[in-house]
Amino acid sequence: MKKVIPGLLVFIVALFIWWLACRTGVFPAYALPSPGQVLLSFKEEFKAGRLVNDVVASLWRVFVGYYVAALLAIPLGLWLGRQPRVRNALLPMLNFFRFLSPLAWIPFAILWFHIGDKPAFFLIFMSTFFPLVLTVMAAVATIPSIYFRVAHDYKYTGWELLTKVTFPAVLPQLITGLRVTYGIAWVVIVAAEMVGCQDGLGYGIWEARNGLRLDSAVCYMIVIGLIGMGIDRILYQFTKLSNVRWGYER
């Protein structure tokens, strides 16, 4: 409880500043909706059922794109980490794509996959796959060689070496990497849906802008932020697993 109070206090102050900005009329009312207006619009969105539908659509897209990316990136990273020559060959290209904003792929995403879930899957994949491969690869490459010598002494080879030594040795860093890339995915989905989809949280903001309903836009923004935090909290729970604590406590 003690830990929550300071955060709550900051929230109340922020809310007050927002309210004050509205009262003093720094921006015209149509450009800065007040807390009260946003609350009303929340009610409206819920009643219409649109908000819930958009949340589900966005979560589904992030889930699929991110899941596929992780499913491919983690094994590839584990393998590359132990293959210095292949790693060196692929590193420049992986880095290139990592620094290429996924939004640059939007024209292709739409031409290749048209409008709907698919371009969003694609953009989420492109934005998370490369950083994840690089994270896992770098983590594997920096495993102290002593662990592999011990593994050799105790006859760990092949699949067992991968699952019982390499994987647990990078798990703490992998969890951190998953949290970071999930953050990227959640940011990218909003932009992806503004252009590639007919629903979803990003599309909701876009619609609100077109209809000059900024109160609705703010209510979507709040939902995006809260869900992002919520899922990160869930991922954070993995850092409490007893067999990864060592990675965070020294």
Binding site: P144, I146, Y147, R149, V150, D153, Y154, K155, V165, P168, A169, L171, S242, N243, V244, R245, W246, G247, E249, R250
Partner: protein, 249 residues
């Protein structure tokens, strides 16, 4: 072999170095070392820092191939490394269990694990992780892991050098007890002369780099020994003399 009894006193591991020399691109580190270690023997190598002790162990374990000469080992070799070698993602029990991977019978595995935990006085720490233990406790787990199961030859690279003096003395006693129960062929590396003399059947004194054996000292007194025993003090004097460290008044 009867069930329940761990590896019996028929120790099998032996080691042989013949005219072994080694270096790292131009730097001559090991200079023609000849060494035969008998089954069940505890040989201690003492030498100054950087003289090539770890290199010698790497040659013995087969991790390095000598530039010239031959290395022959008979038996399963395990090493306690100079750096922390426990897997931090495994508990104490699981780490020791690594040494029992070769034991097929699950019941025997469990019995051995219990016995080893008792032997190193960590029965209550079975489910603790290495980062939750003190340095001395971690080192005891390492000892239990290398003697677990069917190992024959143990290579130990300054296993106690990171510990404080009192813990070190206690750890030597624990090692002696452990080897009493589970005899192994041991090559133990240290720069601590007292430690060498307290533990060894035979002490080999190494020179500065390029290293060679400058003195061999057989110590017949039964273990456990105290640093204050006459044999120990006498042998220490001989080694200090050899290294030119004994002061004459």
């Amino acid at each position: 072999m009867s069930v329940g009894v761990m590896k019996d006193s028929r120790t099998t591991g032996s080691l042989l170095l013949e005219k072994v020399a080694h270096g790292y691109n131009g730097l001559q580190v090991v200079h023609e070392v000849n060494l035969a270690v008998q089954p069940g023997e505890l040989v201690v190598l003492v030498g100054p820092s950087g003289c090539g002790k770890t290199t010698l162990l790497n040659l013995l374990s087969g991790f390095l191939t000598p530039v010239s000469g031959t290395v022959r080992t008979e038996g399963l070799v395990r090493t306690v490394y100079q750096q922390d070698g426990l897997f931090p993602w495994l508990t104490v029990g699981e780490n020791i269990g690594m040494g029992l991977r070769g034991v097929k019978d699950k019941g025997r595995q469990e019995r051995e694990l219990r016995e080893l935990l008792e032997l190193i006085h960590l029965g209550q720490f079975r489910d603790h992780y290495p980062h939750q233990l003190s340095g001395g406790m971690r080192q005891r787990v390492e000892l239990a892991r290398v003697v677990a199961g069917d190992s024959d030859i143990l290579l130990m690279d300054e296993p106690f050098s990171a510990l404080d003096y009192q813990t070190r003395i206690r750890m030597r006693q624990e090692l002696v007890q452990l080897l009493e129960k589970r005899p192994r062929t041991v090559v133990f590396v240290t720069h601590d002369i007292e430690e060498a003399v307290v533990l060894a059947d035979r002490v080999l004194v190494l020179s500065q780099r390029p290293t060679r054996i400058v003195r061999e000292l057989v110590i017949q007194a039964p273990r456990p020994r105290n640093p204050t025993d006459d044999v120990v003090v006498g042998a220490t004097r001989v080694i200090l003399e050899e290294l030119g460290l004994q002061v004459h008044r």
